[in-house]
Amino acid sequence: MPLSTNPASFLPLHPLAFHVLLVLLDGPTHGYRIVKELESQPSISHPIMPANLYRRLRDLVDQQLLEELPAHDDPRGRRDFRITPLGRKVVASEARRLAADVAIARGKGLLRHA
């Protein structure tokens, strides 16, 4: 049972949580693939460290924005994480919130050259 079903109550998301949810929109995958995906994105400048990542994943699972799938036959014991419907709503809400913020910034002429 989710602690809250109102997407707005999860906002603002931690940037790493937001990015993780974005990656998982493409389908379930495990921690290493998430890191690979994230480190290829231009907005992520630092390596994603394991403890940081897994604490974030654990929190997202606890918040029921993600679910942990049973381990498959991976020799490293890796498990896939899948985004929940609530997670999809939350990441969409966060994206809209950020877009609104970006629009404000654009209105102030900050992004003229972008």
Partner: protein, 886 residues
């Protein structure tokens, strides 16, 4: 970094994370981390990533352990098998528990902090004074050597005997002799009277301490024809000489042991704190002028054993030398030598008092710990429902024990911090203690690492024993309470309360008895009949500058005039003089007596130079004959007045008047007879046994020699109490304005003589008082608690017809049982302990009944009052209310 070791390291580091998290994600994290490492192409990048990985685990581990996330209930008990998480959780919980009871927490921390603070301070003092090595190289080879005579275990020797020792005792690397006297020093500064040491050539070499500035001197400057040189103390160089950087051309004028004034070249400055054989401001060569060519007792000797030579070997050789001296010079009264390590001479007298105080502080700490244990236990009982609930919910006994122990540990930590503050403050106060009372105390600086270590060890031992035992009992009761309600557990509890109370009483009893014994000793000192009356007497210390008063006759003339002038002051009942007062440790001056008829077998009596006014000033009664009067002039036959004990010793029951004796070599009058003209009652120091003080008094007008050596004390008795010093000073300034004077009431001087005993007593009395207060608080709180547990029983008793008085009596009787046991045990312990402090007592047996009874009575009254208050409250309750309440 090679693969296997890297993986092992990462796995160890993973333990920074709580076990549950680690088990859930650890393998994946490890896999991810090493895939990341492998993807780094350069060695430096891999190393950088390792750095990030470690930081990641540290930061996230700390975050995971401390801040519970928003979505979890606070402080979820960690799963089994995660000791780190359990510990942090336990500590957090303990902290919250303690903060909900601030009064309890504060009282425990104050009690423990005080106990630990005092014990730590005493431990630091003992460390600084007794355990710190003496500040001389190879100090364990420094030996103090004295002579033994028929009447004295250890007495100073003569320069002649010293010279023989030095020449013949080859087991010693070096030997030095020292005479300490005050001397008057003049130069380009205010004339001052300063403590001086006259030392033989080897003194500085033997100390192993080099001068901080310039040079010391040796045997070459210690000959009669040598140019006069002096080494000064750091203080003298700084305060009197103005701290010159170079000693060239620095001279001061000093008078030596023969009273000769000369200009001395200052050749060296000793480093600060140099105090071998006592503090002095100037060090003069002793052998430039040998003052006495007889075997008397004037110089202190220090030897340095050769490396590897045992003290016994050195002593044996000196005894052989001494026997040879006795053969060659039968007139010497020494029958052997006495030697002890220098450290023993310095620290021997303070060892027992300091250890006594350390022990007392330890006892006080023990009492504080017992109080705290009692409070923890009482709290444990009050928390039984909580414990039982936790046990019922699945907490193991170990877990509950750990919880209680964690609370104790936190209390110990807080107490340690408080204790360190208290010790710091007390150590600051030690500066006010007279450095003469406790050697090396001034130099004992606070050592923070030791301070913290001692305080922490004490706190941990205290909590280790008392925290864990009370936790053990509490958990046992909690476990028992689940099975049987009340009954068995309560009986066990009562035994423990009684044990605690009994122990507290026993410990407090020891402290009270010790304080009582010392107090009685001081009282005895004050009430000893010393044969003289110090009340209303003022002492004026006079040392005449030898430059202006070169001869003994000049001294005699001055004192004659001074006494006449003083006697003319209105309100002066008597004025007189003597070279030494009948006080402890003034030193002794004397040489064997030669009788006209018969032998005086080894009789060494104290030689005094006085006048007739001395006896009137101290109210020493004349028993036979007469005092000095106008018949005694310089040119007439020399008179002597003897003390009653000496008269009896020399002539038994025969009439001493008209008898004669001589003291060859004593004061420069050779074999000239002294005629006994009077016998006076004995006046003695309080620590000299009655009848053991052998004294004779020569007339200063006839034999003034010693006035030039020792100076004189003028005694003035006022008619209606002590006279104002200003009036006395005016009278003496009228005689000669250039004479340094020091004016003090005699009673103050006597008080200084027992200041060491008084200091010990004051500290001990403070400890005993604190012990009494702590015991009273302990007894009160335990009684209150035990009684509160029995409210229901008392309610029933009242309901079925017991009177409140009977109930109160019943409850108080039960508090008296542990008192009785405590007193019996305490008496046994005190008998053992007081035997050990016997040497500190005076005029009172270590088993002094009055002290024991007073201590017991004090504790009985305290216990009675402390148990009366809660018992009375209980007896006043309304039985119906109590019965309904349950």
């Amino acid at each position: 970094m090679r693969e296997p070791s890297g993986r092992a390291l990462y796995r160890i580091l993973l333990h920074l994370l709580p076990g549950a998290f680690r088990r859930r994600f650890g393998r994946e994290m490890e896999a991810l981390f090493f895939e990341q490492v492998a993807s780094r192409t350069s060695r430096s990048a891999r190393l950088r990533h390792w750095g990030r990985g470690v930081a990641d685990l540290v930061v996230q581990g700390a975050a995971e352990r401390t801040t519970a996330t928003r979505y979890q209930p606070r402080s979820v008990p960690p799963l089994p098998g995660d000791p780190m998480g359990t510990l942090l959780h336990t500590l957090r919980y303990a902290m919250r528990t303690l903060l909900t009871r601030p009064a309890f927490t504060l009282s425990v921390v104050l009690t423990l902090g005080l106990g630990i603070g005092l014990a730590t301070t005493m431990a630091l003092v003992v460390d600084g004074v007794l355990l710190r090595p003496l500040p001389y190289p190879d100090a364990d080879r420094l030996i103090r050597i004295s002579e033994r005579t028929a009447t004295s275990e250890a007495i100073e020797t003569s320069l002649l005997t010293f010279a023989d020792w030095r020449a013949r005792a080859d087991r010693f690397e070096a030997m030095a002799a020292v005479v300490s006297r005050n001397t008057i020093v003049t130069g380009r500064f205010e004339p001052a009277r300063v403590p001086a040491m006259f030392v033989t050539g080897d003194f500085f070499a033997l100390s192993g301490v080099r001068p901080a500035l310039g040079r010391s001197y040796g045997a070459a400057e210690n000959r009669p024809d040598a140019a006069p040189v002096v080494v000064v103390s750091h203080e003298f160089w700084r305060d009197n000489l103005g701290a010159p950087g170079s000693l060239a051309q620095v001279t001061i004028t000093l008078s030596d042991l023969l009273g000769r004034s000369e200009a001395y070249a200052v050749v060296g400055v000793m480093p600060p704190g140099f105090d071998l054989l006592g503090t002095a401001k100037v060090y003069l060569p002793l052998e430039r002028g040998v003052p006495w060519s007889v075997r008397n007792h004037t110089v202190r000797v220090l030897g340095r054993l050769k490396p590897g030579v045992a003290l016994e070997t050195g002593v044996a050789q000196l005894n052989t030398v001494q026997a040879a001296i006795k053969t060659d010079h039968p007139e010497t009264d020494a029958i052997g030598i006495a030697a002890q390590p220098l450290s023993e001479e310095i620290l021997g007298p303070v060892r027992r008092p300091l250890l006594l105080l350390l022990g007392s502080a330890g006892l006080l700490l023990l009492i504080a710990c017992i109080n705290v244990a009692g409070a923890l236990l009482a709290r444990g009982v009050a928390r039984q429902p909580e414990m039982q609930l936790r046990a019922a919910l699945g907490a193991t006994r170990g877990r509950i024990f750990g919880q209680l122990f964690a609370e104790s540990a936190l209390l110990a930590t807080a107490s340690t911090i408080l204790a360190i503050g208290i010790a710091r403050g007390l150590f600051g106060l030690l500066g006010a203690v007279d450095p003469m009372l406790v050697p090396r105390l001034a130099g004992a600086s606070i050592d923070w690492s030791k301070l913290i270590l001692i305080a922490a060890v004490l706190a941990n031992v205290g909590v280790g024993i008392f925290g864990s035992s009370s936790a053990w009992f509490t958990t046992r009761w909690a476990a028992a309470g689940l099975r049987v309600r009340g009954g068995g557990a309560q009986r066990g509890q009562h035994t423990i309360w009684r044990l605690l109370l009994g122990a507290e009483v026993a410990l407090a009893f020891m402290l009270l008895v010790s304080a009582g014994l010392l107090g009685r000793s001081l009282y005895q000192v004050a009430s000893v009949d010393t044969g003289f009356d110090p009340r209303g007497v003022t002492i004026i210390d006079v040392n005449l500058p030898s430059a202006r008063f070169p001869t003994p006759a000049d001294h005699a003339r001055y004192f004659d005039a001074a006494l006449r002038s003083l006697r003319n002051i209105p309100g002066v009942a008597a004025a007189g003089l003597n070279i030494l007062l009948p006080l402890p440790d003034v030193g002794s001056i004397g040489s064997p007596l030669h009788l006209e008829q018969g032998e005086a077998k080894d009789v060494v009596a104290d030689y005094r130079v006085a006048d007739e006014g001395y006896f009137a000033a101290l109210r020493i009664p004349l028993l036979r004959g007469r005092l000095f009067d106008d018949r005694d002039r310089a040119e007439t036959a020399h008179s002597v007045i003897v003390g009653a004990a000496l008269a009896r010793r020399l002539w038994g029951d025969a009439d001493p008047l008209g008898k004669r004796f001589s003291i060859p070599g004593m004061d420069g009058y050779g074999d000239a007879w002294l005629n006994v003209v009077g016998v006076v009652a004995d006046a003695r120091a309080w620590n000299v046994e009655a009848g053991k003080q052998l004294t004779y008094y020569v007339n200063f007008r006839q034999r003034p020699t010693f006035l030039t050596v020792t100076g004189a004390k003028i005694l003035v008795r006022g008619e209606g109490g002590t006279l104002p010093p200003s009036a006395l000073r005016r009278a003496l300034v009228a005689v000669d304005p250039g004479v340094p004077l020091r004016i003090r009431p005699l009673e103050e001087l006597i008080g200084n003589g027992v200041a060491d005993k008084r200091l010990v007593l004051n500290i001990l009395a403070l400890f005993a008082g604190l012990a009494l207060v702590l015991s009273a608080v302990g007894i009160w709180s335990v009684s209150s608690f035990v009684i509160s547990r029995r409210i229901r029983e008392m309610g029933i008793r009242l309901a079925i017809g017991a009177t409140p008085r009977q109930v109160r009596r019943l409850l108080q009787r039960e508090a008296m049982l542990p008192l009785l046991v405590g007193l019996i045990v305490g008496t046994g312990l005190a008998i053992v302990v007081t035997r050990w402090i016997r040497s500190l007592l005076f005029g009172v047996s270590e088993l002094d009944g009055a002290s024991f009874i007073a201590a017991a009575a004090t504790l009985a009254v305290t216990t009675w009052i402390a148990s009366y208050l809660p018992a009375r409250r209980t007896a006043k309750i309304d039985p119906i209310q109590t019965l309904r309440a349950d």
